[in-house]
């Protein structure tokens, strides 16, 4: 069984929200820009709280921002 991944649509959503930068999103949710980079690349799975915060910024339900890909 491969490694499960939490994939996301953050990059597309950022551009849909006035070309929001990674730094701006990071400041809105209280993390570093590097963490947003890692999440976007699916190298890091955010905590449930952070995932909800990100979804809240884009005014979308969680499942429209993050998708779980079983390994």
């Amino acid at each position: 069984m491969g490694k499960a991944r939490v994939e996301n649509d953050i990059r597309r959503l950022r551009f849909a929200h006035g070309e929001m930068t990674q730094k701006q999103l990071a400041e809105k949710v209280g993390v570093t820009r590097q963490t947003i980079v890692a999440i976007e690349k699916a190298n890091y799975s955010p905590s449930l709280e952070l995932a909800f915060l990100i979804a809240q910024v884009f005014e979308r339900p969680l499942e429209q921002v993050f998708t779980f890909k079983p390994g």
């Binding site: 993390v31 570093t32 820009r33 590097q34 963490t35 890692a38 190298n43 890091y44 952070l50």
Partner: protein, 149 residues
Amino acid sequence: MSFEERNAVISLIVTVGVFGYYGFRFSGLYGEGYFTGPDAMTRTGWEILYLIGYGVIAQIVGQIVLSIVFSILANDSNPSFRIDERDRQISLRGVRFGYGVAGGGITLSMVALAYGWDPVIVFNLVIFSLAAGALVETLVKVVLYRIGG
């Protein structure tokens, strides 16, 4: 580079420098026979105290100087000091590896003591085990930051 990642790199450089210097100094003094006779352990204790002293000073000075150098190199006049959940997670993973290495080194040091090694050497093996633990901890953190862990 985030605040914590930069701290990890700086800590790595300073730790290698401090323990490199201490290892060089200790081996020189040991070769001269400074750690022989009834005062061997007292002298060892003082050397370790000096190590702690200049280690703390080197960490403080190193953090300040290298932080300035890194900011200049990155052309970042307003660096972020934020620490987030990913930093804490990476830090915990580093600590886990560090404890493993330090614990293994201390166990091997006790084996060496049990087999009759010079206590001065064993004492320094314990110190270097702790240093190796700290080094591995920082190295793991740097690697995890680089691979995006």
